[in-house]
């Protein structure tokens, strides 16, 4: 397998805590890869180490087969930080040109690409060319777009997005998704971190879930879901829930966990339990059943199963 990123056993300790512990993961070239985890699980620290912004205490990181600090490799990587990183007083076009030049793109090439991207993300409209405005005259959403353009101007082979969806309205979130799919189609590798499982499930080929600085699981999304087993049942009920029904659902020998999604319940069966038994018990209790379907668990479910509420709390490290 050809890996865009190959991380072997990296750890990073800060004075008061361990942010990342013995983490290994491989990102296949040309895939969309999600790093999932609760806030403070070590996602941003991992990304910073991939970018060589900070060095791991132990372990190695190679990008396209080269060590991550290599200058040539660095020019093939595009990075969107979680918080905006733009000079406030700089004109937008000049800011973008500077970011492109830092990646070795000649000025005149950058100019052409900036014009294209500004139109594509509607920062240049017949009414107003925001490229001539200063960064701090732009709204948050527009600044985010500018930052995103800056990430892609040098046409990187590997795009790293740290929490790209946080704070995006639905329209911009859709534009971001489209761009990610487009990048994949062009053979680029995209890796992003998020704590929003829905986005990850829809976009990613592979994922890695980390908590408390450690890897919980990783692999292709289909494989992860299959491995999580077929113990999940989507149950749709009609009418009021009687004490009898509640008793069936509370039976720990059958049901280990229930997630109420309002329109249906996502039920995780206790290992060894027979789903047919559950169905019979529900019918016997007089439940009106609208839907009873064995489903693959959502990433969200898998995440809750594997990380749990406890993990979310303990995973807080303050550094993301």
């Amino acid at each position: 397998m050809d890996y865009a990123i190959d991380i072997r056993g990296i750890s990073k300790r800060f004075a008061e805590h361990t942010a990342v512990r013995e983490l290994s993961l491989q990102v296949p070239t040309g895939s969309v890869y999600g790093i999932l985890g609760p806030n403070g699980a070590g996602k941003t620290t991992t990304i910073r180490m991939i970018l060589n912004v900070i060095a791991p205490d132990t372990g190695t990181i190679s990008i396209f087969g080269q060590p991550s600090g290599d200058a040539k490799v660095r020019d093939r990587v595009g990075y969107l930080p979680e918080e905006r990183g733009l000079y406030r007083k700089m004109q937008v076009r000049r800011m973008l040109k500077f970011l492109a030049e830092l990646k070795g793109v000649p000025g005149h090439v950058a100019d052409v690409r900036i014009t294209e991207w500004m139109q594509r993300l509607s920062l240049t409209t017949p009414e107003r060319d925001w490229g001539l405005a200063k960064v701090d005259e732009l709204s948050r959403g527009m600044q985010q777009k500018v930052q995103f353009i800056g990430t892609l101007l040098h046409e990187p082979d590997l795009v790293i997005l740290d929490e790209p969806f946080s704070g995006l309205d639905p329209i911009n979130a859709q534009a971001l998704k489209d761009t990610v799919i487009d990048l994949k189609r062009k053979g680029k590798t995209v890796i992003f971190s998020t704590h929003l499982m829905d986005n990850a499930e829809r976009l990613c080929d592979s994922v890695c879930i980390i908590a408390r600085g450690e890897k919980v699981l990783d692999g292709a999304v289909t494989a992860v879901k299959a491995a999580a087993g077929d113990r999940t049942i989507a149950l749709g009920l009609v009418g009021a829930r009687t004490p009898g029904i509640s008793a069936v659902l509370g039976n720990r020998t059958l049901v280990s966990r229930i997630d109420d999604n309002n329109r249906f319940l996502e039920i995780e069966l206790t290992p060894g339990a027979d789903p047919q038994q559950l169905l019979r018990d529900l019918v016997a209790a007089g439940a009106g059943i609208e839907r009873f379907e064995r489903v693959n668990p959502s990433l969200h479910q898998i995440f809750l199963q594997r990380v749990g509420a406890k993990g979310v709390e303990e995973g807080m490290s303050g550094h993301g």
Binding site: V53, Y79, P81, Y87, L99, L102
Partner: protein, 427 residues
């Protein structure tokens, strides 16, 4: 190299483009010019209006001496006032004086001079007027009378009047040379002033611009641009580009100012004429050899770079403008200490202290130009100090780079010196 240029270009252009920069660059020379010429202009102007302004010479010599004096007063300053001569017989002098006194009281004239036979016999002349205590004015009258007297005597001795004119017009300017315990090593007061001025100019520009690197670093930290940039360039390149770019801004301004000063200096005759100031005041510039000029420029440049790097390092340790002031203090202290040593070094430019301070990178850019102007230093010593300073600059940039790399992601508490040491060691 391309990335270095990108950083350099950004730091330079973003600053040079600001309105503040353009205004200070263009207006400061005007301000300097005004500060330098205005007092002279105003005093000249007041001289013209109130002093030489209508003065009467009462000539009781009966030999036309009053006209001689008048010629000497109006010749070079034809447009500064009017001098009239009134020839009076000695017997009517008292009456003429009282008429003149009334004229002064009624402000018809500013004053009057009395020359009579006693003047010709070295017994003196008299002046009476509103401004009898004005030293400049009295000196002017005295000189004119003295010269007229000398001319008359020489003519009396049979000299050709034209020769007399040529002989009596003496222009004297006295140059002062410094003699120290080391002998006549000094190259004169003017170059000492030059050395001091350069030291002070460096100090001023560092106070004005050195802290720009500090602010530039803090801006990157607070806007989190640093993360994006460090993912693209290594911090050595970044810091070198930043320090050189910001320094280039300060140096651009100095060059514009220097050119402005040169322009004013070369065109000073025209400017003085325009302002109606007549003659040029004597200005003597110290003689500076090409080699010395290059050395002075290098000291200025390297000093600027060295301190800018230190300011950048200080900026990397803090995360807000409020803390920046504190972080900059130790560096300003180094600078001020070097300035404080100017006086003792001028008194003993070859002392051990002076020599030691010449070798320390933080004081060398200030102390060396001073010493060079008062004692002859060997070119080898100067070259070695410059080389040492250049190395110190490179080290300072590397140091700043390391602190930047670690400090970039640290927010909140300022590091102690021990922690700083750890940062430098670990990156």
């Amino acid at each position: 190299m391309g990335k270095f240029i990108a950083v350099f270009k950004r730091e330079y252009l973003e600053r040079v483009r600001t309105r503040a920069f353009i205004l200070t660059t263009l207006l400061a020379p005007l301000l300097f010019g005004a500060v330098m010429t205005l007092p002279a202009y105003l005093s000249m102007k007041s001289l013209k209006n109130t002093k030489l302004g209508r003065t009467e010479i009462l000539d009781a010599t009966g030999t036309g001496f009053g006209t001689d004096v008048q010629l000497r007063l109006t010749g070079p300053m034809a447009d500064t006032g009017t001098i009239t001569v009134k020839a009076v017989p000695p017997s009517e002098l008292a009456a003429a004086e009282s008429t003149a006194t009334h004229a002064v009281q009624s402000k018809a004239i500013a004053g009057y001079i009395v020359v009579d036979s006693s003047t010709l016999n070295d017994q003196g002349a008299r002046y009476a007027g509103r401004e009898a205590s004005s030293v400049g004015e009295m000196q002017m009258f005295e000189n004119a009378i003295k010269q007229a007297l000398v001319t008359r005597r020489l003519e009396h001795e049979g000299l050709d009047p034209k020769r007399v004119d040529a002989l009596t017009k003496v222009r004297l300017s006295m140059s002062a040379e410094r003699i120290s315990e080391k002998g006549r090593g000094g190259t004169g007061l003017a170059s000492t002033i030059l050395g001091g001025a350069l030291a002070f100019l460096l100090y001023m520009s560092l106070v004005l611009y050195g802290q720009n690197t500090l602010r530039s670093v803090i801006e990157e930290k607070t806007t989190r641009v640093s993360e994006v940039i460090v993912a693209s360039v290594n911090t050595d390149t970044l810091l070198a580009g930043k320090v050189l770019g910001v320094s280039a801004v300060g140096i651009t301004q100095q060059i514009v100012w220097a050119l402005g000063a040169l322009l004013i200096y070369n065109g000073r005759a025209a400017i003085f004429a325009k302002l109606g100031l007549g003659t040029l005041p004597p200005v003597s510039l110290p003689h500076v050899s090409i080699g010395m000029a290059i050395a002075l420029a290098l000291f200025f440049l390297l000093g600027f770079l060295f301190y800018s790097s230190l300011f950048a390092a200080a900026g990397a340790t803090v995360s807000s403008d409020q803390e920046a002031q504190q972080a900059a203090q130790p560096i300003i202290l180094l600078l001020v200490a070097s300035i404080i040593f100017i006086q003792p070094i001028l008194l003993a430019p070859s002392s051990t202290m002076a020599r030691v301070l010449s070798w320390l990178p933080f004081s060398a850019p200030i102390v060396m130009p001073l010493r060079m102007s008062v004692v002859a230093l060997s070119p080898i010593e100067i070259s070695l100090v410059i080389a040492g300073l250049a190395v110190a600059c490179a080290l300072a940039i590397l140091l700043a780079s390391r602190i930047y790399r670690v400090g970039m992601l640290m927010y909140g508490k300022r590091p102690s010196f021990a922690e700083l040491g750890r940062w430098i060691a670990q990156s």
